[in-house]
């Protein structure tokens, strides 16, 4: 069954119940349904048809959710872009996926039309819905494309991960079975719509006629406010990266007040969650704590529920056992399945594994995650790190080479290297930049240059200048030696902040 059917069925069952809520506005299921049908008609009039792609570029809001629904109802696929993403990147995405249209907010329309510089239709996504609009509900096959999520790519250009209705439904249906939510449930949506965590928030809620409460991106890391919202909105299901939970506990005084009674599940994914934090959370709330695992390419494919053993033992939190009908195993460097206790690359096969990357051959066979894991006796896995250079900053995956490529495009830059300093909450993207001979580069000018080409989460937290980059014997940048080189040149004008002492 299709992904859009979830909200359509809930609108028929529970028309008056809240569907989308939060500071950016509220919609009940009937309103969501009307607005999605009306926008679907407008899109059709603009020439959008089944099988097309439509880019959605806006801040998180109920209108954005309506637009997703409208595109799906036509049998087309949506391509979400955060409002903070620079227009040049949106235009590049639209060209890459040969979008049939781009929808954005009224204030971005002019700049978007300039950037597209073509006849590609674009429109304001917020317009008064016509309550008379006839229902639109395209029949789709499980392998039909539902949405494309662009992630950081190692070649210097973003990669479009293509997720089908069948992929998304396999994992949303699992989430519904796992959590057993009902119409009374209130899901928080912390992650941006461009991040796969948001798919669970939205569609698990829509599947059962529950409400999803949108947290605007400006509030996503404002700890005291977030802690307040969890209470005020009586959130029942929370899902975020561990960084956000750590921040809530450390700076938001989350644990100072009794846990809200309404809260019954806390889900986290995207990066390892340090055990002391998990224990603090487990002492505070009786809610179920679930560690979910899955790159964008596979959706959620493993899950581990925090239990007494995790509170007593000193092992890192496992990433768990396969869910959503998937199979997962570890492959050793010599190509055989890892035995218990052995380390290998995690491979995943099953209904949640993506169709492929946009513009390349469809994906075949098991997906190689690039994550190194140890196989545990109970069939679950322990996460050990990455095989390649990909890094995670506050749950967002970043290919440092993509950021380096963009920095090196600046006229006054000869070379750049990007690494992550610190870990967990204190992870920071650090750029080392070598100015071109005889040139001076300003931090702010370079930031402007990067901001015009990269999404915000890929902008360096720190930029340092070096006279040259350290190289290893193969002539490649020696990333491990960068911090030392910077120190030796004493170009770091003030010491970087000390990471916080162990939370234990």
């Amino acid at each position: 069954m299709s992904l859009h059917r979830l909200a359509i069925d809930s609108a028929a069952r529970e028309p008056g119940r809240p569907a989308v809520a939060g500071p950016t506005g509220d919609l009940c299921y009937a309103e969501l349904d009307y607005a999605a049908n009306a926008l679907a008609h407008r899109l059709r009039a603009m020439g959008v048809a089944a099988g097309d792609r439509v880019v959605l570029w806006a801040d998180k809001s109920p209108d954005f959710v309506v637009a997703m629904q409208a595109v799906l109802r036509l049998g087309a696929a949506y391509v979400p872009a955060d409002g903070a993403v620079p227009v040049a990147r949106v235009a590049a995405m639209a060209r890459d996926c040969t979008a049939a249209a781009v929808l954005t907010s009224a204030d971005r329309l002019a700049v978007l039309r300039d950037a597209l510089g073509s006849l590609l239709p674009s429109a304001d996504l917020a317009q008064e819905p016509d309550p008379e609009a006839a229902p639109v509900d395209a029949e789709v096959a499980p392998d039909d494309l539902a949405y494309i999520l662009y992630t950081s790519g190692s070649t210097g250009a973003p990669k479009g991960v293509c997720i089908s209705h069948g992929n998304a439904r396999a994992f949303v249906d699992w989430a519904v079975k796992e959590l057993g939510p009902g119409p009374q449930d209130r899901f928080a949506n912390h992650a941006p719509f461009t991040f796969d965590l948001s798919v669970l928030d939205l569609y698990a809620a829509f599947a059962v006629g529950a409400s999803v409460h949108l947290i605007p991106s400006e509030l996503a890391y404002a700890p005291a406010q977030l802690a307040e919202l969890i209470h005020q909105w009586r959130i029942t299901v929370w899902y975020s990266v561990p960084s956000a939970l750590t921040l809530l506990m450390r700076d938001g005084a989350l644990l100072d007040r009794p846990a809200p009674e309404a809260l019954r599940a806390v889900l986290f994914a995207g990066e390892p969650f340090p055990l002391p934090q998990v224990r603090a959370l487990a002492r505070w709330t009786g809610a179920r704590l679930l560690n979910l695992y899955g790159p964008t390419e596979t959706n959620v494919c493993l899950r581990h529920e925090v239990g007494p053993a995790d509170v007593e033992n000193d092992r890192p939190l496992p990433i768990g056992t396969p869910v959503s009908g998937d199979h997962a195993w570890a492959e050793t460097p010599d190509g055989r399945p890892a035995a218990v206790g052995e380390v290998g690359e995690l491979l995943v096969e099953g209904p949640t594994v993506m169709l492929g990357y946009w513009g390349v051959q469809p994906h075949q066979g098991p997906y190689r995650t690039g994550d190194l894991v140890r196989r545990l006796p109970d069939g679950s896995f322990e996460y050990l790190g990455r095989r390649d250079y990909m890094v995670k900053v506050r749950g967002h995956r970043v290919e440092p080479t993509e950021v380096e490529t963009v920095l090196a495009l600046h006229d006054d830059v000869a070379e750049a290297a990007v690494v992550v300093a610190g870990s967990g909450m204190d992870a920071r993207l650090v750029a080392y930049v070598v100015p071109a001979r005889g040139r001076e580069v300003g931090v702010l000018g370079l930031r402007r240059h990067a901001a015009q080409r990269l999404p915000r989460y890929m902008l360096a937290d720190e930029i340092h200048f070096l006279s040259q980059l350290p190289h290893n014997r193969n002539g490649k940048t020696d990333r491990a030696a960068l911090t030392e080189a910077a120190r030796a040149e004493a170009v770091v004008s003030h010491p970087t902040e000390q990471p916080h002492a162990s939370e234990r």
Binding site: P23, E218, A222, V443, L444, R447, E462
Partner: protein, 83 residues
């Protein structure tokens, strides 16, 4: 406190904490801080803490949005309004 003084202190904080001191003197009152990644989500939290300590201004959640954090000028305007 006059707005000018407030602007100066906020700009100084941003230079020192987020721009390595800004040796080229590029920061202006209208430099877009969010857009260029000078302020990210974590630094917004730090900045809000600074505003509380420095000016005794508690910024409520509804005020924490892009319009109020766009640049030094809009941050100053928000603080002046809330003070």
């Amino acid at each position: 406190m006059p707005d000018q003084e407030m602007t100066k202190r906020i700009a100084e904080y941003i230079r020192e904490k987020f721009l390595d001191g800004d040796p080229q003197g590029e920061l202006q009152d209208t430099s877009p801080l969010l857009e260029w990644g000078v302020l990210n989500s974590l630094r917004v939290a730090q900045l809000i803490g600074f505003l509380r300590e420095e000016f005794g201004v508690v910024v409520p959640p509804r005020e924490i949005h892009a319009d109020n954090l766009r640049d030094v000028r809009s941050i100053t305007a928000m603080v002046a309004r809330l003070a």
